[in-house]
């Protein structure tokens, strides 16, 4: 319960950066932090008390393994997060070449 709440605080820190920062790179950093928080939350839900990693080894009983399903789905989610970050940074670099600034209040010419 307390761990979940700390995880939400991490999410809110990232959300604050997305909402209130003027620098594009800071906004990208905020999205990265949000993504970390969501991945951490899914894995926290999967944890079982005194559990073991979901890997079979000789002489191990099955009963106390942690939940393997969220781990499998988060594994691909992490890699997709990297690709999305690369896309955001690519767009930011293009915007910098066109406007010579990262300030979102100066980027106001929508026409090509």
């Amino acid at each position: 319960m307390r761990v979940y709440f700390l995880c939400f605080i991490l999410f809110v820190v990232g959300l604050y950066a997305i909402l209130r920062k003027r620098n594009l790179i800071k906004i990208i950093i905020g999205t990265i932090i949000c993504e970390y928080a969501v991945n951490l939350f899914l894995i926290l839900i999967a944890y079982r008390k005194d559990g073991r990693a979901p890997i079979y080894s000789p002489g191990q009983e099955v009963k106390n393994m942690v939940d393997p399903l969220p781990q499998a789905l988060v594994l691909t989610s992490i890699v997709i997060g990297l690709a999305v970050t690369a896309l955001l940074v690519g767009l930011a670099i293009r915007i910098y070449e066109k406007y010579k600034t990262f300030d979102i209040t100066k980027i106001n010419q929508l026409k090509g």
């Binding site: 709440f5 890997i55 393997p68």
Partner: protein
């Protein structure tokens, strides 16, 4: 799990430093605190595959972000409706946290997950797929269509990056 709580507090501090530092390079490095802390947290939560992946992804992420950084952050400005906007932001974030406190009580408590679907994977996974690592058996056997869809998203993002960044064909 006291060490896990300390680790998450450490990650929150790293995130706050990353957001509030003036120097952009220090800011990008401070994101690494969060990312590598997350890798350690996965290790505490008994997910070694995720810890390895997160470590690699974090370092690549750092390299990509350093490519985009300049030396300084923008100067601090309180122009426009700065106080009003900041107050509204904090009020809504506080409301989000306050309401999440009630919602989190409804979740199964930490350490006792709902495992209705996963019980089948845990009991039958080794017999049906012959893979000793259950995470691998779920990714590549039980949920292979999910993985196919996620690979599609991944390659779409990569094509987007190539289309945005490449120089050939631009005037």
């Amino acid at each position: 799990m006291l060490e896990l709580e300390f680790l998450i507090i450490f990650m929150i501090l790293g995130a706050i430093i990353a957001i509030e530092t003036k120097d952009m390079l220090s800011s990008v490095v401070a994101v690494g605190i969060s990312g590598l802390g997350l890798s350690l947290a996965f290790l505490f939560l008994k997910a070694p595959d995720l810890a390895i992946t997160q470590l690699v992804v974090e370092i690549l992420c750092l390299i990509i972000l350093i490519r985009a950084t300049l030396r300084r952050d923008l100067p601090f400005s309180t122009s426009g409706r700065w106080y009003f906007n900041t107050t509204v932001t904090f009020v809504f974030l506080g409301a989000f946290l306050f309401l999440s406190y009630f919602i989190l009580k409804e979740l199964p408590s930490f350490g006792q997950p709902l495992m209705r679907v996963s019980e089948f994977y845990l009991n039958q996974g080794k017999n049906l797929t012959k893979a000793t690592n259950l995470v691998t058996s779920i990714i590549l056997n039980f949920r292979a269509y999910d993985t196919l869809g996620e690979a599609t998203v991944l390659f779409t993002a990569v094509i987007g990056v190539l289309a945005v960044v490449r120089k050939i064909g631009r005037k």
